[in-house]
C-alpha cells in the first residue's frame, strides 16, 4: 500500500470562477452534502427510468437493505480511521449468522451471544496481529478471514442436521416493519449510528482513533498505549460485523456460508465513498452511512435497469471509481 507522502503530482491551474470555487470549498468542507445530493440524483434517476418506483415502500425497503451493509461499514469505518482495513468482516458476519442459526436449540439469546463471541474471537486475533505484532492489517485480516471462513466450513460439516433456523426476533429485526413502513432494523441501526457518530467526535476513544490514524508514532510518544486502542477497535469492528451478520440473516431467514461475501468489497467501498481516508485520520461514520445507502440504491438502479450482468458489473465498478476520483479531486 502506498505510504502517505507529499504528492509529487501537479495540480491543473484553476480555471474556475470564484463562485464555483466557493462552491468547491463548501463541498470540500461538507462532503456529506455532496453525497446526499448524489443520492438524490440516483433516486431521481430511478424514478425517471421506472416512473412510479419511488414510493414510501421502496424507500423503506432500500433503507432496510442498506442496514446490514451500513452496519458492516460501521466496523470498517472504525478500522479505516486508524489507517487499517478489515477484510474479515464478511467471514465474521457469515460465521455469526451461521452460528446463530445452528445454535438456536440453546435458546435465541444464547445463540446471539455465541454469534457475538465469534466476532470477539476473530476481532481479538486481528487486534493481536495488528496492534501487538504490527502486522499489516490487509494481510492479517485476509488471513483471519480465510481462517475463520475455513473453520466455519469445517463446523458446517458437523452441523448438517442441526435443525438450523432463524429465531423469530432476529427475523423480525431483519425483515420486519413497524406500521408497514418503518423497517425494524433501523431501530438497531439508527441508535448504533448515533452512538458511533457521537463516540467518534465526543469521546476520548474516538479522538484516539483519529489520532492513531493520523500519526501512530506521535501517539506512542505522547504516552498512549496504541495497542490497547487498536485491539479494542478491531474487536469492536468484528462484533459490529457480527451484528451486521445477524441483521442479514434476519432478512434472508436462512444462512449459508456465502451469506455476507457479497458485502465485503461494498463495505470498504461505502466507507471510501463516505469520505474516510484509507490512510486514516480523516472521515467519519456519517459519510459511510450515506455511502452504504448510495451503494444499495445503485444496486437497485442496476436491477431495475435490467442491463446484462457484465454491463452491471462494469457500471458498478466504474461508478465507485468515479465517486472516489471526484472525492480525491475535492479534498486533494
Amino acid at each position: 500500500m502506498s505510504a502517505r507522502i507529499p504528492s509529487t503530482g501537479r495540480r491543473p491551474p484553476s480555471v474556475l470562477g470564484k463562485r464555483s470555487r466557493d462552491l468547491l470549498v463548501f463541498l470540500r468542507d461538507h462532503t456529506i452534502v455532496a453525497l446526499v445530493l448524489l443520492l438524490c440524483i440516483f433516486v431521481f434517476g430511478i424514478e425517471l427510468i421506472r416512473p412510479g418506483t419511488v414510493t414510501p415502500t421502496w424507500l423503506s425497503n432500500s433503507l432496510q437493505f442498506a442496514a446490514p451493509l451500513g452496519i458492516l461499514a460501521a466496523g470498517q469505518t472504525l478500522v479505516m480511521l486508524t489507517g487499517g482495513i478489515d477484510l474479515s468482516v464478511a467471514s465474521v458476519a457469515t460465521g455469526a449468522a451461521y452460528l446463530l442459526t445452528t445454535n438456536v436449540s440453546l435458546g435465541g439469546f444464547a445463540a446471539v451471544l455465541i454469534a457475538l463471541a465469534f466476532g470477539v474471537i476473530v476481532g481479538a486475533l486481528n487486534g493481536i496481529g495488528v496492534a501487538l505484532l504490527q502486522v499489516q492489517p490487509l494481510v492479517m485480516t485476509l488471513g483471519t478471514g480465510l481462517m475463520s471462513g475455513g473453520v466455519m466450513i469445517v463446523y458446517s460439516q458437523k452441523m448438517l442436521a442441526s435443525q438450523a433456523r432463524v429465531p423469530g426476533f432476529i427475523q423480525a429485526l431483519g425483515s420486519g416493519k413497524l406500521w408497514g413502513v418503518a423497517p425494524l432494523d433501523l431501530f438497531l441501526w439508527v441508535p448504533l449510528a448515533a452512538l458511533l457518530i457521537f463516540g467518534l467526535s465526543r469521546t476520548g476513544f474516538g479522538r484516539l482513533l483519529y489520532a492513531i490514524g493520523d500519526n501512530r508514532l506521535a501517539c506512542h510518544l505522547t504516552g498512549i498505549r496504541v495497542w490497547r486502542i487498536l485491539l479494542v477497535n478491531y474487536i469492536l469492528c468484528s462484533v459490529v460485523a457480527a451484528v451486521g451478520g445477524l441483521v442479514l440473516v434476519g432478512s434472508t431467514n436462512a444462512a449459508d456460508l456465502g451469506l455476507a461475501d457479497v458485502y465485503l468489497l461494498p463495505s470498504v467501498a461505502a466507507v471510501i465513498i463516505g469520505g474516510t481516508s484509507i490512510f486514516g485520520g480523516r472521515g467519519g461514520y456519517g459519510g459511510s452511512i450515506v455511502g452504504a445507502v448510495i451503494l444499495t440504491v445503485l444496486t437497485s438502479l442496476l436491477t431495475l435497469l435490467d442491463v446484462p450482468e457484465p454491463i452491471k458489473q462494469i457500471l458498478y465498478g466504474a461508478i465507485i471509481l468515479v465517486l472516489a476520483a471526484a472525492y480525491a479531486r475535492l479534498t486533494g
Partner: protein, 500 residues
Amino acid sequence: MTEAATLLEIKNVAKRFGSVKALRSAELRVRAGEIHALMGANGAGKSTLVKIITGVFPCDAGSIVLAGVARNFRSPAEARRAGIVSVYQDPALVPDLTLSQNMRLARVPLESVTGYLAEMGIGKVDLSAYVRDLPQPILRLIDLARALASEPKVLLLDEITAALPSDMAGKVFEMMRRWRERGHAVIFISHRMAEVSAICDRTTVLRDGATVGVTETASGSQEQIVSLMLGTDIAKAAQSVAQPGVGQSIPKDEPPTLEVRGMGLRNLLHDLSFSLRPGEVLGVAALEGQGQDELFDCLAGVRRFDSGTILVEGKEVHFRHPGDAIKAGLVFVPANRLQALLQQRAIRENVALPMFRSPRSWGPLSMARERERVQSAVTRLQIDTRAEAELRRLSGGNQQKVVLARWISHGFKTLLCFDPTRGIDVGTKRQIYSLIRELAAAGSSILLFTSELPEIRLACDRAIVMFAGRIVNEMPAREADEATLLLSAHGLVPRVAAEA
C-alpha cells in the same frame, strides 16, 4: 567592481497552494562563481522557491532564467540535465538500494562520486552497502558527492548542515568554496547566521513569500539580515540576547527532580550520571551521534537501557513505555515535529492528546473544559490560530509551539527538549527560549539538547557535554562559550585524557 555574469535569475515567481499564498513575488539573482545565501523566517517561502527552481512543482507566475534562457522544469531530472541540482536536508537516497545502485539511479558516474567522497575525506565507503544501514551524516555527504558528480552549474544546499557535526559541516563548506572557485554557483540555505556570514558572498532575504533585500557579506550585515528577515520591530527584540534568569543560582539544598545514575546502553551510553534540580535548565551539548539521542529516548521511556537507574524526586522509576515517563512527570519534545503532531487534526486535538492516555478517559469528553484548557495554553504561547482546523497548514515554528502547549496544558515536572529550535526562525526561537526560562522560573526543570552551541549560554543554567556516550565535561552556563563546548564535544578535554 566588475559584475560577474548572472547565471540564474528568478523573476517575480508566485505560487499558491489552495488558499495559501506561499510565494508572492520572489526574486533571486545568482552570479557564476559565488556562494549565495537564501534566508528567511519559517514560512517565508524558501523551500517553495527551491522546489520551483528544481522542478518539483511549477510556479503559477514569474520566470526562471538560466544562463540567459528562460526555463520551466517539469521534474528534478530535467533541472539536473540543465545543470541545477539540489541537496536536501534529508538525503535523497533510496534506503533499500545499495550506494552504487543509487548512483546508477541518478545516472551519475560512480568514479566521480568516489572521487568527491575522497576529497571530503571519506573515501573508504563500501559501495555495496545498503543505504538503510548507513548513518545519516555520512549519507548527507554522499548525497552531496552525488550532486557534485553531475557537475551542476547551480548547486542548491537546503539546510544541509542542520544536523551535521561541525567537522563534517566544515567539509561541506570546503566543497562549496571549491565549487565557487570552479566558477559555478552555490545557493546555500541555512538558519545559522554564523555559517552564512563565514562562507557566503551575498544573501537574499525572503519574507512572507517575497524578496525583501539582498546584502553583501560585510561587517554588520548580520544585523541587516536579521532586520530584513523579521521586519524592524521584532529585530530589535531579537537582538536582546540574554534571557531573563539565565545563570541564576539554584538553591543546592533542594532535592533533584531528576537524577540519572550510571546509565549504560550497549556501546552507546556509558555510566551516565547527572542530576537536575527544580527550576534548573540543564543544557546538553554534543556533536551528532554521541549518545544524546539515546539518552533522551531512555529518559522519555521510548527505549530501555541496560544498566543504571533513573530517580524522580528521589524515587527509583522504571519506564516500559513513554506513558510511564509522562506519569512520572517527564515529558518529551522531539526534534522532528512530524514525530509529535497529528498533521491532519486541529490544534485543539493536538494539545489535548495526552489527556487520553488512560482507558478511563476513553469515555465522553467535556468539550467546554477541554477548550478552556487548550485555549489558555494557546494564548500563552501566542500560537497563530488562523489555520487551526488542520495542523499541517501551520508554520514550523507554530507547530513546535503546539507541542510545547500540549505539555504545558497537561503539566509536567521535567521537560526533555531535544533540539526544539531546529529549523525555526529567529523570532520563534527567542519566544521558545524565553518560554523555557519562564517555565524554569515557575519551578520546572528542563533538560535541553541543542545543536547550536551558542544557544547553551542563552537559555541554560548549567551545561554538560557528551562525547562517545559519556559525559566528558560539566560547567556553569556562563563559562560555556562556543570554544570550550566545541573542544569538549570533540573529546578534547583534560579529564578524558586523564582517564585514558
